[in-house]
């Protein structure tokens, strides 16, 4: 019996590279690989959830998407929302980090406060924003009036709804970018700065010619990381607008959700999800190429 036990333990020891990852690999197959393959298969079928069996139709669902105005609207909203929120988060996050990058009393307090927005439960935070964005009784219009500005319709108007959602996203995620960049700035070598100050460089010059080039890899990492979640933003948009008014804030991702779970069009919904997946994948491949080039 003891010998048997020893044999087993030596077998595991010799093949640790197989036994250790095995449970993860099996689990990944069940909860990740299988659903993705199933999803690709479903996207090639005509199938309404709960109504009969799937019928194989090849790439028909994909052709349907390219002829669907709501698909193009979703793509447009996605590019608008993600493009604007990501660039604002990177730009503002960088500026705040540069501003805070010095020794001062309360520095760790500020950094603690900055952890809260991105850690907090998105649905709960989105509901609070929904209260604040109310055009009749919301506190944001009151704040505008304090500065003598006219009230906004925020999420009730097709022209301001995406901007309002961008504002919520920027509020939630800029602090994370700030903290990442701040950590990056702290690890930069100090010699170039000392040399620049001796040479009499201005603050703007130091930022443009020293800080920006040195911090670029960190910025690209932060952007890649943020885009991973931003391109599939669901909680905030679903909670605050559900894509309305008149689909003005309906991203492709939200549309794919509605197609599958509100309209029960399983086949077409799967095709839309696969397209979102390909967009995220493409973005990642591009970012990896960019990162590779910057680091060389």
């Amino acid at each position: 019996m003891k010998k048997f036990k020893e044999k087993i333990s030596s077998l595991i020891d010799k093949n640790l590279n197989i036994f250790f990852p095995a449970p993860t690999v099996i689990l990944l197959f069940i909860i990740v690989i299988f659903p993705i393959i199933y999803n690709i298969y479903m996207s090639l079928n005509k199938w309404r959830i709960g109504l009969g069996d799937p019928e194989f139709i090849g790439f028909q669902n994909y052709f349907e998407a390219f002829a669907d105005p709501r698909f193009w609207n979703g793509l447009k909203v996605m590019v608008y929302f993600s493009g604007l929120s990501l660039s604002l988060e990177i730009a503002i996050g960088l500026l705040i980090a540069v501003y805070l990058n010095r020794e001062f009393k309360g520095s760790s307090f500020v950094q603690t406060i900055y952890v809260f927005p991105f850690a907090a439960t998105p649905v709960a935070i989105a509901l609070v924003w929904r209260i604040m964005l109310n055009p009749q009784i919301g506190v944001l219009n009151y704040v505008l009036s304090l500065f003598g500005l006219p009230p906004s319709l925020w999420i009730s108007s097709t022209s301001t709804v995406v901007l309002s959602l961008v504002m919520v996203d920027v509020w939630k995620w800029t602090p994370m970018i700030t903290l990442i960049v701040l950590a990056g700035l702290k690890s930069l070598p100090q010699d170039p700065y000392e040399a620049a100050i001796i040479d009499g460089a201005t603050v703007t010059q130091i930022f443009t010619y020293i800080t920006l080039p040195m911090i670029r890899p960190v910025l690209i990492t932060a952007l890649t990381l943020r885009a991973l979640d931003n391109l599939k933003e669901f909680d905030i948009i679903y909670t605050i607008t559900q894509g309305g008014p008149r689909n003005a804030s309906e991203t492709l991702y939200l549309y794919s959700y509605k197609t599958a779970f509100s309209f029960f069009n399983g086949g077409y919904g799967s095709a839309l999800i696969i397209i979102v997946f390909l967009i995220v994948l493409l973005f990642n491949v591009i970012m990896n190429k960019v990162r590779y080039r910057v680091e060389i």
């Binding site: 909860i31 009784i137 990381l225 991702y253 599958a260």
Partner: protein, 272 residues
């Protein structure tokens, strides 16, 4: 200190205050909404000074059975985290020590895949197996978030464990498994703790899976608070109170790991 230096310092701190107003304001507004009566909440201009009431918190627990949802969320987040650690720690170790690129690639793809693409297949299979609105089903779906998260974080933390210590354990006659359990794990306790807390937060915050796959028995707190919107008349105070109850534990956890949080979130991404 010269006068100019003093003025500069004051200007700097004014800037800092402006920078922390937005995060603080939203959380403050959440708590204020929770402490106002229904009438006070729809007053315009909004009230900033008022007599606080705890009625909303009482109602959330008594009328909406919120305690049950808190328990559900805790069970699911805790179980998903424990399983992720048990399964993920050896995998992360193996990825680091044997340089298993393919596996780490698979983990990255799991993180990249839009969650909705898991949802439909799961929905169909869960309905067939009767797993909808069960804890087993919910925990399994949450593993999709917590397992890649834990592995990703632990890859970075295991890389910091010096190999010399492990090698001297081998020489002393320890097997590889023993070395992992007796040397590597204790040396990475800080990292494991951080990974566990981040994993718990992500599971606690998860909304989409529970929206479709949970039910009255296993409903989690994000879905419960979301449902406050659809009770006909919108109960602002109730939403504020429920949001406060959900967010508070997350903020406490985030506070505990704040120093390691950023390092953790960027882990792996930096090295790629």
């Amino acid at each position: 200190m010269t006068r100019r230096k003093v003025i500069n310092k004051i200007l700097f701190y004014i800037g800092v205050i402006i920078l922390i107003i937005p995060p603080i304001f939203v959380f403050a507004w959440m708590i204020m909404t929770a402490l106002k009566t229904g009438v006070q909440n729809i007053e315009y201009p909004p009230l900033f000074i008022f007599k606080p009431t705890l009625e909303n918190f009482k109602a959330v627990f008594q009328q909406h059975n919120f305690f049950q949802y808190l328990i559900n969320s805790t069970i699911i987040a805790f179980s998903a985290t424990i399983i992720s650690l048990l399964v993920g720690l050896p995998a992360a170790y193996s990825i680091v020590r044997y340089n298993q690129k393919k596996l780490s690639m698979a983990i990255l793809i799991a993180r990249m895949t839009p969650f909705i693409s898991y949802l439909l297949p799961w929905y169909i299979v869960f309905r067939m197996l009767g797993l909808i609105d069960t804890f087993i089903g919910m925990i399994m779906t949450h593993l999709i978030i917590t397992l890649p998260m834990v592995i990703w974080l632990m890859i970075a933390f295991f890389e910091n464990v010096p190999r010399e210590l492990e090698e001297s354990a081998f020489i002393d006659g320890c097997s590889r498994v023993e070395t992992f359990i007796r040397i590597t794990i204790p040396l990475s306790m800080n990292g494991i703790f951080t990974a566990a807390i981040i994993s718990f937060i992500f599971s606690w915050n998860q909304f989409l899976f529970s929206l479709i796959l949970s039910g009255p028995r296993t409903r989690t707190v994000p879905v419960a608070v979301y449902n406050f919107m659809s009770y006909g008349k919108i109960d602002w105070g109730g939403i504020g109170a429920a949001a406060t109850i959900i967010v508070l534990p997350v903020l406490v956890f985030a506070f505990i790991v704040r120093k390691k949080l950023v390092e953790g979130l960027t882990a792996g991404a930096i090295k790629g």
